[in-house]
Structures are given as C-alpha cells and as structure tokens.
C-alpha cells in the first residue's frame, strides 16, 4: 500500500492471549489472537462486559495476561519494565482521568517529565499539544480540570496521551461521557490528527456507529473477547459474518454504508445537457434540447457553477437564460458522502447536481446510482468471503 510511508505507529500482535481474573472460573478474555497493523485505527467493539477493556489493558499491562504473548513493534511487551512500557504507550480513558490538582499544562507535561525531558522542551511540547487538540495555550494553560467542559477535558486527556509522541495510543471509550455533538466533533478531530500522526490506535467502544466512523478495521467481539469478525467497516456492513454480528451492526446497515462512500467513488452521470447563460440564447438552447431529446437542461454561470434547471417549455417565452427555470437546490460535491448525496436527491426530488472542488458542474447523481453501488459492494464482499 502506498500509504505506508510516514507511519509513526508500530504493529501490535496478540498471540493466544487469555486473562482469567482470580476468583472467576470463566476467563474474561479467552485465547485472543489478532494483529493490529501499524498506523491504523483498530476498533474493539462489542457488548458491555465482553472483555474489550480487559483486552486493551493487557497491551499496556495494566492487566497482566494469564497466558499468551503480546508483541509491540516486534518487542515482547511482557519482558519490558511495565512502567517504562506505559510511557511509550498513550492512554486515554472515558472520564479523561485528568489530575484535578494539576493545571492543564502540568497534566500534559507528566509523561515528558517522567521521561526526563528538560524544562524548555517540555514547555514547548505542552503548547504544541494544546494547539494540536485545539485549545489555546494562552487561555487554558493554567486552568484546572474542573474549570473545563467535558469535551475540553477529553481534549486535554488526548493531549496528555500524545505528549511524549508514543507510537501506540490506547483509548477506552474516550468519548463515551460527552454529549453527542461534542462527541462528533472529537471524533472528527481524532481522524484529522490521525491523518498526520499515523499512530497505531486501539480504540474501545460499544457504539457500532462510532466504530464505523473511526475504524480502519473493526474487531467485533463476543463473549470473552472472541473475535466474531475482524475486517474493514465496509466489509462488515456489507457482509456480517454471522447473525450476532448482524444484530450488532443493527438495522440500517445499508444506510451506514452510505456514510463510508464518497460521491467521487461512484459512477455518477455526466450527461446532463448544460448551457452557460451568458453565451447561449434561449432559442439556441431550445434547439439543442430538441436535438438531444431532453426536456430539462442545466444553466451554468460564467465559471460553470450550476444555477438553474430549465424545462424546454420555459424557453419559448424567455428573453435570456439569466432568469428562467427553477434554482438548483441542494448540491453535492465529489467529496460528499453518499448519505449526503441521498439526502440531496430526496430533497431535489429526482437527481442532485454534483460539483467539483471549485464548485463547477461535474455531473448529476440519482437514486439508481446509490442503490446500484450498494448492491455492487454487497456482491463484491460476498464473492470475496466465499473465495477466502
């Protein structure tokens, strides 16, 4: 894959890892083997109590495995000093777990301090991290955690986890305790950060939608962390491995799939009849439309940006193309998700105009394109899994 340069993360390997808590007969995690690829976000998702947290906490040895081996970047994690290991693994949890008696800056500075960085370097790093997570250092450096909103605390938690630039980041339901809007923003920001950082991120959640949004790969876990399916979100949505996974994926798998695809990935039409208003007279357009056998045409402005739809019968009375027809409503760009496209198609009542990066007309998309695409993915993943 071309995107393997610049990866700062390392591969994590769990090999036949089992955890049995003292006093319980059944293991909380039973014989889990999985490879977490370097520089990817891997989501552990599953019902509450299935062992996600236990699995994740064995990676930084907050919980010691009963048996099995864990390798991080080729090194046997169980052979290292646990405290030193943890300084190289970022750790962010649900309630943020900030030190309430430390300021924001002091919280972020803890791991660099433990690693013995000099004062100057720590100070710079703290500011850098605050910028990275979108907190103005001048305003927030000396605040205490209780003077922050839940979302801001979570940002500090992420900044603290990343401060020493660890190759691996473990996140246990980090956005579980914030309101849905803030959660959405934090998720977007994590994705933005990750495009530059390229860490190996292990992210625990019980929210499948969050898993679909964030994951490069998703491990759907069952009882005792048994891996029911470990694949890309697309593949899991298109073809759940079994009924349990299907149940967990929930209703509306096809709709969720639409959030993963972008308009540029599908074959939208580019055969609409277009005319630039300044260059074309109504009569000219009318004859072109009759020639092409089309009843509708799209009028563009001088920079080829979509303006209005005109019906052929509007043209007989019009003096210029500047004012006839019905204004184009919702536009979609090639960057939009298919979900946005579907929304626009429904709002427009037929098809939606697709624009390029500068807002110029590039085509139209209709509901057939959307349904065909889903159909096609489903078939691909079915033949794909049948072959393997």
């Amino acid at each position: 894959m071309a995107d393997n340069d610049n990866v700062s993360g390392v591969e994590i390997q769990l090999d036949h890892v089992t955890k049995r808590y003292s006093g319980s007969r059944e293991p909380a995690v039973k014989d889990v083997t999985m490879t977490i690829p370097a520089g990817k976000i891997v989501i552990l998702v599953g019902p509450s109590g299935c062992g996600k947290t236990t699995t994740m906490r064995m990676i930084n040895r907050l919980i010691e495995p009963t048996s099995g081996t864990i390798t991080i970047g080729g090194e046997d994690a169980l052979r290292l000093n646990a405290d030193e290991l943890r300084r190289k693994i970022g750790y962010a949890i649900q309630q943020a777990g900030l030190f309430p008696h430390f300021t924001v800056a002091q919280n972020i500075a803890v791991v660099p301090g433990l690693l013995g960085w000099d004062r100057k370097r720590i100070e710079q790093r703290v500011d850098e991290m605050m910028d990275l997570v979108g907190l103005d250092p001048a305003q927030f450096r000396t605040r205490y955690p209780r003077q922050l909103s839940g979302g801001q605390q979570q940002r500090v938690g992420v900044a603290r986890a990343l401060a020493a630039d660890p190759p691996v980041l473990l996140m246990d339901e980090p956005f579980g305790a914030v309101d849905p809007i803030t959660r959405g923003n934090l998720q977007d920001e994590l994705l933005r950060l990750q495009t530059d950082l390229r860490k190996t991120i292990v992210f625990v959640t019980h929210d499948f939608d969050e898993a679909v949004k964030l994951g490069d790969k998703i491990a759907v876990l069952g009882e005792a962390s048994t891996i029911m399916q470990y694949d890309t979100p697309e593949a899991i949505l298109a073809n759940p491995a079994n009924d349990t996974v299907a149940g967990f994926v929930g209703a509306g798998a096809s709709l969720k799939q639409l959030t993963l695809l972008r308009v540029r990935d599908v074959n939208y039409n580019d055969d609409a009849l277009t005319a630039v208003s300044e260059d074309t007279s109504p009569a000219q357009l009318r004859s072109r439309m009759t020639e092409a056998g089309k009843t509708y045409a799209l009028v563009l402005d001088g920079r080829r940006r979509p303006q209005r739809w005109v019906h052929v019968r509007d043209l007989s009375t019009a003096a210029s193309l500047a004012a006839v027809g019905r204004p184009v409503g919702d536009l979609v760009s090639t960057q939009s998700t298919l979900q946005d496209a579907l929304e626009a198609i429904l709002a427009e009542g037929g098809n939606a105009v697709v624009t390029g990066t500068r807002g110029e007309y590039v085509g139209t998309i209709d509901i057939r394109t959307v349904t065909d695409t889903i159909q096609q993915i489903r078939e691909e993943h079915e033949t794909g899994s049948a072959a393997s």
């Binding site: 930084n60 907050l62 405290d83 030193e84 290991l85 943890r86 300084r87 190289k88 970022g90 750790y91 949890i93 649900q94 309630q95 943020a96 777990g97 900030l98 030190f99 309430p100 008696h101 430390f102 300021t103 803890v110 791991v111 433990l114 205490y144 955690p145 209780r146 938690g157 603290r160 986890a161 473990l170």
Partner: protein, 215 residues
Amino acid sequence: MNLFAYIADRWDRLSLQALLHVSEVVQSTVIAAIAGVLIGVAVYRSPIGSAVATALASTILTIPSFALLGLLIPVFGLGATPTVIALVLYALLPITRNTIVGLAGVDPAVTDAAKGIGMNRLGVLTRVELRLAWPAILAGMRVATQMLMGIAVIAAYAKGPGLGGEVFSGLTRAGSANATNQALAGTLGVVVLALLLEGVYFLIARLTVSRGIRG
C-alpha cells in the same frame, strides 16, 4: 488582683508554659500525622485493614485521659514522655481515619490514568493519591490539634509541661490568693492558643492545597 493584672504580673512564667503547651501539642500532632498517614497508606486498599485500623484508633480514644496517663506513668515515669505518648495516641484516630477516607475517595479513573501513563507505584502515591487526600489529612490534623489542646491540660497530672500546671494548681488551691486567677489564666491561654492554631491551619491549607481541588 484582677485577672489582667495577674497575667501581666506572671507573664514570663505564663508565656513559657504557653509555648511549652503549643510545642508539645504540635509535636504530638506531627508525630501522629506521620504515623497515621503511614498506617492509612498501609491499610486503605483493604476494607478489612481499614476497619481494623479505625476501630483500634477509636478504642484508644474511648480510654479516659486520666486512666491512660495513669497506665503510662509506671512505665515511662513522670514528665514529657508519657504526656507526648498519650497525646500521639489520641491524635491517631482523626488522622488515620481521615487519611483512609481521603485515599479511598480518590477517583479510581485518576489513579488508573496515572498508572496507565507510566507513573510507578511510589509516584502514584506521592504525586497523586496523597496530594488529593491532603485536604482530608490536614482536616484530621486540625481536629487532632484542637482535641490535644484540651487533653494536654490533663497531662499536668503526669507533671508534663504546659498550661495544665496553672489550671491544676489554681484548682487545688481554691480559696487561697489568686487561685481563681491562676486557673482562669491557664484556661484562657489554652483557648487563645487554640484559636491561633486554627489560623495557622487556615494558612497551611491556603499554601499547600492545590487550587484545582480547593473547596
């Protein structure tokens, strides 16, 4: 002679006794704080250990101070030693109990995060847990100090230093000249000193409790 004239007249002796009184109370509190925090740290993770430590410390507090001194004098003789031992024992309960409560009250998410980012056991205890439990520990020390100011008066029974001597001799000489003044001066001294120490505790809290956790 009225009370004020009496105090002015005996100022040298009274102020020396006051100093000794404060000194023995403060020293006993500090010793009890060190012991109480160590005990608290040793037991707070275990509910049984916590219960036993608290129960033992409570039991000590139920022993009347006269009786406790009476038991200590045959072993340690008269003077400062039995007094300080008795005071330390009485101060243990509030400090140990508050240490346990304070440490147990630390948000588990915070200690988990501390461990998770690579603080070692001692670091978690000294930089996080004890820092967060500190307001509670300090409150325990304050209660202990207040209590000891009164109990130290009784220590005069063991011929210990402090204002207790004034109170006792004033009371035993009841009826003779200045007896009432002597007892009152001693009592008043204890009250004034207790108030002063309250102020000191307030200052210590201001200076040592992080603004992030101040109530």
